[in-house]
């Protein structure tokens, strides 16, 4: 599966490489803005007047020009493209957001082919933190000929990139996605059973464009026009900023007042210019952490960086020093695309969207016009003044509907119906109006189409008290509240028929473990698709491990011991992914005398399978002696049976004459191809193959 990250300025595509690690295209290979004015028709370009595909797609408003701000967001005071008219398409009609997105997606597909990633067929796409626009995004992809396999929040994709979503690992992380036009700060609660809950999201109109504005103002100062318009210098400022990602100093030639001027910038200067902007971002993180503590959530200890702006040198170090958090920065610009590309082999993944109906904190003490929080969830604690200025966000406590900005999250009751993530997923839990309190905005989705029949799984309560848990949610006993799930070492599983014996080493201070499992496909025998049990240490010792009946299909098992001490957030998870065993065909031999048409003894071989399968070509071997033959060389091949299809529980019988012998003899069936592992052939009872 290919992963596509549709950014504000650039788009990236990723696919699994030969070693399983995602391969991601270059940061600036494919612009995410479309020039509709060229003679060759619309094409992705970072030219003046190019329109952002993402902006219109996720806001439902008119596209914005490249290098400018999304509609509704705070924008530089002298944005030259603020009121640009909607562009006309090749046939004279206006190109809609989906068409613009299609142009970018097609370019990404070409880029994938050029880079050896093949032609994308099925793709995973990312939604901004606000979560809206999924239907339009899907339509855009499908109109381009792509099949949409997954749609995930960008923050979750980034968490996948960093390996934060792992079986058995339960942790709380912050994802700081810094893009061109804004930044999203998401608090994720990752459960050990592949459940990710987006507890809170704070969006700030604070991105690379604002850095570019700061740089442009510096250039204006150097050019002797500190009060001049920044718009003409924004492209050069962006190029300088991006160049500093690679080198300590960068140069650009800029036209100004009829002449070419060479301007330079070094990293130290850039760091000084953007320091106030970084402080704003760090302040939002701090405010969110306060909210986390107020609500009693698990305090995150790790911040994961994503987005192109996070590529700026020194970003991780600055944040780590400023916030005291562990900051992880590994190709943050490619994090979303990379994480999306990993979903193909990831299997079941549940994404729950946390409560959004909390109120922002008062902002009277914040004179900064940029504010610190534009999130409707308000966990950032401060409302962005530009929201009311734009007339779309009347303020806290109001419920007036209106389009959201990119990256802005709104309560569910404010979202248009098509933006409800669960509305177009028939397999998701759809609470009725009476089941959903008016202030709850939890939406949940199971992001694996194979789990259509699976009931939604709910882990231990992570949400604040205002968020209602579904009726199926197990209420943890009070005594467990002080216990933390930690991975267990030496987890092993042994399959025994349709049972699974789990063993692990217990942490010294653990007396109970939580064991969860999920089958990748429904079991033909009707076994439950998922399971969640508590296993006491005494019971484990008494029974010699934990025995589960899971059938023969592929199964994922996670084990977490409950201990008084929390787990290391970066500890390896304790999970096992066991592949399915091949279909089982049982056979038995019955010796009879005097069947019509056959002289002497005859043997009737009966083959039965539990599931439809292909019975491979077989040899029927007759061996003499007490010891069961292990191969054709140990006896005489009486007959070769061609391969054939077996239907479930419909016996297939073969009669054949049996040679007269003295003493014990055996009649066994062996696959003609010794390495044929597509079907497991097993006698119903080994000792009954001894036919005399």
């Amino acid at each position: 599966m290919h992963g596509i990250d549709l950014g504000d300025s650039y788009a990236r595509i990723a696919w699994p490489g030969p070693d399983g690690a995602p391969v991601v295209t270059g940061a600036t290979d494919v612009p995410a803005t479309v020039d509709v004015t060229g003679p060759d028709g619309p094409r992705p370009a970072r030219t003046a007047g190019a329109r952002s595909a993402r902006a219109g797609l996720f806001t439902g408003t008119a596209e914005r020009p490249a290098g400018a701000w999304p509609a509704g967001a705070w924008r530089p005071t002298d944005d030259p493209f603020a009121d640009a008219p909607l562009p006309a398409g090749p046939r004279g009609g206006a190109l809609g957001p989906e068409a613009l997105t299609g142009v970018v997606l097609a370019a990404l597909a070409r880029r994938s082919r050029e880079c050896g990633g093949g032609t994308p067929q099925e793709v995973a796409l990312a939604l901004p933190a606000g979560g809206g626009g999924e239907p339009a995004l899907r339509r855009a992809a499908e109109q381009t000929g792509l099949r949409v396999g997954q749609v995930l929040p960008e923050s979750v994709a980034a968490a996948l990139h960093y390996g934060a979503v792992r079986d058995g690992a339960r942790l709380s992380v912050l994802v700081y996605d810094q893009g061109a036009t804004g930044s999203d700060l998401s608090l994720l609660a990752v459960d050990g059973d592949r459940t990710v809950r987006v507890l809170e999201t704070v969006s700030q109109p604070l991105g690379g464009d604002h850095w570019d504005e700061a740089v442009a103002r510096e250039l204006l100062r150097r050019l002797g026009s500190p009060d001049g318009p920044v718009g003409p210098l924004l492209p050069a400022a962006e190029r300088l900023r991006l160049a500093l990602d690679e080198a300590p100093e960068a140069w650009q030639r800029v036209p100004w007042e009829g002449a070419e001027h060479e301007v330079s910038l070094d990293r130290e200067t850039l760091r000084a210019l953007v320091e106030p902007l970084r402080e704003l971002g760090a302040g939002a993180v701090g405010t969110l952490l306060e909210t986390v503590q107020d609500r009693g959530w698990d305090v995150p200890g790790t911040l994961l960086l994503a987005g192109g702006l996070s590529e700026a040198p020194g970003t991780a170090e600055w944040l780590e020093e400023r916030l005291g958090l562990t900051v992880r920065s590994r190709t943050p610009g490619a994090a979303v695309a990379s994480g999306l590309a990993l979903t193909g082999d990831f299997g079941l993944l549940r994404v729950l969207t946390g409560p959004a109906a909390t109120r922002p904190r008062p902002t009277d003490d914040d004179p900064d016009p940029r504010g610190r929080d534009t999130s409707s969830g308000g966990s950032g604690g401060r409302r962005a003044p530009n929201a009311s200025r734009a007339g779309r966000r009347p303020g806290p406590g109001t419920t007036a509907p209106g389009p959201a900005r990119p990256g802005e999250r709104r309560p569910a009751e404010e979202r248009p119906a098509e933006e409800e993530p669960w509305r177009d997923r028939p397999w998701a839990d759809r609470p009725g109006p009476s089941e959903r309190p008016p202030d709850a905005a939890e939406a949940e989705a199971v992001t694996n189409a194979d789990t259509a029949a699976a009931p939604p799984h709910h882990g231990p309560e992570q949400a604040p008290p205002r968020t209602p848990e579904p009726p199926t949610a197990p209420a943890p006993p009070a005594a467990d509240q002080a216990l933390h799930p930690v991975p267990v070492p030496q987890l092993r599983a042994t399959r025994r028929d349709d049972h699974l014996l789990l063993v692990w080493a217990w942490p010294p201070d653990s007396r109970e473990a939580r064991v969860r499992w999920s089958l990748d496909a429904p079991d033909p025998g009707g076994l439950p698709r998922t399971g969640d049990v508590r296993c006491g240490r005494r019971s484990y010792q008494h029974d010699g491990g934990l025995d589960l009946r899971v059938g023969r299909g592929a199964v994922t098992v996670t084990v977490a011991a409950l201990t008084p001490h929390p787990a290391d957030p970066l500890a390896e998870p304790s999970a096992l992914i066991l592949p399915a065993r091949p279909p089982l065909v049982r056979y038995e031999a019955v010796v009879r005398r005097g069947l019509p048409g056959l002289r002497g003894r005859t043997a009737r071989l009966t083959f039965v399978a539990d599931t439809p399968c292909e019975l491979p070509a077989l040899q029927v071997v007759h061996g003499l002696g007490r010891i069961c033959p292990a191969g054709a060389a140990d006896g005489t091949v009486l007959r070769e049976l061609p391969a054939r299809r077996l239907e479930a529980r419909i016996p297939f019988t073969v009669d054949l004459p049996l040679p007269a012998t003295r003493g014990p003899s055996w009649l066994i069936c062996l696959p003609l191809g010794p390495d044929d592992a597509a079907t497991e052939l097993r006698p119903a009872s080994l000792h009954r193959l001894k036919v005399s």
């Binding site: 049972h499 008494h542 010699g544 007490r626 010891i627 069961c628 000792h687 001894k690």
Partner: protein, 393 residues
């Protein structure tokens, strides 16, 4: 004299009426009481040198007797040979003596400990049976010397003390095995006395050493022969990489141990068929080292059947599978010896620990996961009729 009883401690035979009694030492109705004293017979035969009530003879077929010295009634019945206190109801309920033999380092003690632990806990609960120690010494020894060492401390055992080093004695563990019979509210328990004695492997490394255990083996109702595939030259290369292989010093090949045990049993055999009548459970231990090499459909990788009966069909499947493995392990001679000398024998494949121990002789950190350990004993008990079976064979 009808010698139909065998002492579960010294394995000597005697008639029921010869059972002796020991005074309790408590005051009698007349006010007299016997003083505790050292019993030289007990000391000589068992090595127990503590002071006990005086022994006297009476009609051993009765559950009680009156001490001729103090006139106190006593229920302590003793073996007329070794003076060990016999289990309650001994001679009135069935009793079976199970000998456990095997080569040095074949895992007999670990196997016996896990077997008894399983019968007392998981398997016993599934079968509806109970296993209780019959005397204080067994309670103390099994608890502290065996179960606690293995299950609580995770330590494997040092070599078992040889009979030669113990003045030619063995020290059996004696249990009462009870199983409810009947249905609904009319069930009544059926008891059997089980005596296990664990031999040192060195006792089977030479004909002379085997002779020390002759009495015990000859009078055993069933023999569990523990063989270690890792001591078979043909099987060692097939063991899972990293398996701790037993050393070769002082270790004899399993087929040689079988030959010596067979020779000794043959010498005492009274039947005319020429076949040894004592049922022999041939147990191949440490099977976890070979799980990876077994066919996925092997009965030795399957989920053992559960239920309150011994599953004959499953046992026969395992029997045939082990016989097939013997060919791979270059152990066909074992099968030939058994087929030509024993009337009843059955192969078993077990793993007492479920995983190999650590190099420093500790149980793996994942704990103990026994696999099929109780099958051999349940087969023997089903042969005696003490455990019902499902199916024929």
């Amino acid at each position: 004299m009808a010698a139909d009883l065998v002492c579960p401690y010294c394995y000597e035979t005697f008639a029921a009426r010869d059972i002796g009694f020991r005074c309790s030492g408590r005051p009698s109705p007349t006010g007299r009481r016997c003083a505790f004293e050292r019993d030289p017979v007990l000391a000589e035969r068992t090595g127990r040198r503590g002071e006990v009530g005086p022994a006297f003879r009476a009609d051993g077929r009765k559950p009680t007797a009156v001490c001729p010295a103090c006139a106190a009634e006593t229920t302590y019945r003793i073996c007329p040979v070794c003076h060990s206190t016999l289990p309650v109801q001994f001679g009135m309920v069935g009793h079976r003596l199970i000998a456990m033999v095997g080569a040095k380092a074949s895992g007999k003690t670990v196997y016996m400990t896990v077997l008894l632990h399983e019968l007392m806990n998981r398997v016993g609960a599934g079968l509806g049976t109970a296993l209780m120690a019959s005397d204080d010494l067994t309670i103390r020894r099994f608890g502290s010397d065996y179960e606690e060492q293995l299950y609580r401390h995770g330590r494997l055992f040092h070599g078992t003390r040889t009979a030669a080093a113990n003045d030619g004695r063995v020290e059996p563990l004696v249990f009462r095995f009870s199983r409810s019979r009947g249905r609904l509210n009319r069930s009544r328990p059926r008891h059997s006395v089980l005596s296990f004695f664990d031999t040192a492997g060195e006792d089977f490394n030479s004909r002379e050493n085997v002779e020390l255990n002759t009495r015990y083996l000859a009078n055993a109702d069933g023999v569990i022969l523990i063989l270690d595939p890792l001591q078979m030259p043909g099987a060692r290369p097939l063991a899972r990489p990293g398996t701790v292989l037993p050393g070769s010093e002082g270790v004899d090949e399993p087929v040689n141990v079988l030959s010596r045990v067979t020779n000794m049993l043959m010498a005492r055999q009274k039947g005319s068929s020429g076949l040894i009548r004592t049922p022999l459970a041939v147990v191949f231990a440490k099977l976890d080292a070979f799980w990876d090499t077994l066919d996925p459909g092997s009965p030795l990788r399957g989920h053992p059947p559960a239920g309150d009966r011994f599953d004959t069909a499953d046992s026969l499947d395992v029997h045939e599978e082990v016989r097939r493995l013997l060919k791979e392990w270059e152990g066909v001679r074992i099968d030939q010896d058994l087929a030509t000398h024993y009337r009843r024998y059955r192969y078993f494949g077990v793993s007492a620990l479920g995983a190999g121990p650590t190099p420093d002789a500790l149980v793996a950190p994942t704990g103990i996961q026994p696999y099929r350990v109780t099958d051999p004993l349940l087969w023997l008990l089903s042969e005696f009729g003490a455990v019902p079976r499902r199916g024929r064979g």
